[in-house]
Structures are given as structure tokens and as C-alpha cells.
């Protein structure tokens, strides 16, 4: 397999107003690469949910998007509080978001389920007190 094209972003956890910027950027990058609108939409929605999660739950982190010939891989890593019960977190409607986060339009408990829905493969590695890494893959046709 040839070397992937890699896009790296540092996600700032201190400024909610910038949350989602990296995903907007990726969307533009993938458009330039000529991927299909459907694939682009799935990649950018999945990354967007993950990016917002890192900002609201983990005080920021890093995002790496690797574009291979046959798939796009998104790796979101943070040093936040970690997720105690991943099965629980994956349930639609489960959220620990505060009222202030809800007032910003997040905290429906739909982010992780959405990420799973829009990707072909998703893996969560999380250790309480250490951090969380979410790896997602979207096959390109």
C-alpha cells in the first residue's frame, strides 16, 4: 500500500468558538482530492463529532486524517478524563455533558453513535485519568 496523505491538527480545548474548524478544513482538503461528496460528508461528520467531543469532554487533543487509496482513517487522541464505560457512552442519548454544554447545542448523547453510523469501522481506546483515542475508518468505494 502506498504512503497515505496525512493531515494533522492540534485541537484547542480552551476556545469553544473554534471547535469544528479542523473538520471544516478537512472537508475542503478532501474536496480538493476529488473524493465523492458522500464519502466527504461521512468523513467530515464523523470527525466533527469527535472533534467537538475532544473540546467539550477532554480539553482538546490532536486529530490526524490519513487518506489511503482505499480508505480514510481518522485518529482523534486526547489526554482527557477518559471514558469509564464505553458501552454506555455508545448508547444513543447517553451524555455527561453539563447544562452549559447543552446551551451550546451539544449533549444530546448522539455524537459517538453518529460516528459509528457514518464510518465502516470505529475503535475506542480509553483509560480513565489518561485519555481517549478514537480511530475511525471509512472505505472509499
Amino acid at each position: 500500500m502506498s504512503e497515505p496523505l496525512v493531515f494533522h491538527f492540534d485541537i484547542n480545548g480552551d476556545d469553544f468558538s473554534t471547535a469544528g474548524q479542523a473538520s471544516v478544513q478537512i472537508k475542503n482538503n478532501l474536496r480538493q482530492l476529488g473524493l465523492s461528496p458522500e464519502i466527504i460528508r461521512r468523513v467530515s461528520i464523523a470527525m466533527y463529532e469527535g472533534e467537538i467531543n475532544m473540546v467539550i469532554h477532554a480539553n482538546g487533543g490532536t486529530a490526524d486524517v490519513k487518506v489511503y487509496e482505499d480508505c480514510v482513517e481518522i485518529i482523534l487522541a486526547d489526554n482527557g478524563p477518559g471514558i469509564k464505560d464505553i458501552d454506555m457512552a455508545m448508547k444513543e442519548g447517553y451524555s455527561t455533558a453539563s447544562d452549559s454544554t447543552r446551551s451550546l447545542g451539544f449533549g444530546a448523547g448522539m455524537g459517538l453513535p453518529n460516528m459509528k453510523r457514518y464510518t465502516d469501522d470505529m475503535k475506542i481506546d480509553s483509560t480513565v485519568g489518561v485519555g481517549t483515542t478514537v480511530t475511525m475508518k471509512i472505505n472509499i468505494a
Partner: protein, 117 residues
Amino acid sequence: MTIREIKDLIGAEVLCCEQNLERDAYSACGCDLMSDVLAYVKDQAVLLTGLVNPQVVRTAEMMDMICIVFVRSKTPTKEMLDLAKESGIVVMKCNKRLYEACGLLYSNGLVGNKVKD
């Protein structure tokens, strides 16, 4: 239904991308929680919301939505409008409440999830 018809039905004021008013909208979604919006992709959709922050515009952008309506006279910032302009999303505001604005559009034929034919 065109975006212009939507604008007329709810008496909205266009804040950017006026040039795209003739575009066709196939569905709409009224919501203040962005992940609910992100859950179901619809074609050429309109987002009605009472929430005002940059994530509203980014959410619409991620979903390839074509129009955002801010209800209850909420006014977006210049940064938000600049963001919308980059992707040609029509932004409007109206003084109706979310329920009323959605109801008007629904009863005039803009249903939640019409499939493109």
C-alpha cells in the same frame, strides 16, 4: 420549495448569500441540539434553530445544508456569516418561534424528509 418561498412564508430577512435564493430545498429540520441534526443526512436541507454560535454554521456545512434560519430574531455574528458565505449557505433570520416557523413550512409542503425524485 425554493429558499425564496421559505423566506416569504415565514417573513424572514436574508443576511447572506442572497444569490442562492432560487435553490430548491427538499427537507428541513428544526433543532437546537446539533448532534440530533447530524444524525440523519437529508438532501438539500434547511436548518431552523434558535441556537446562535459558529457550530451551527459548521454543522450545516458538514451536512451540506443549503440554508440556515435563525428564529426569534437571533442575529448571527459577522464571523458566522463569513463562514456561511464560504460554502454558499443562505442565512436568514425571522421573528417567529421555532415551533411556528417549522409548522408554517411543514403545512405548506416542506416535510421533514422528502426524498429527491
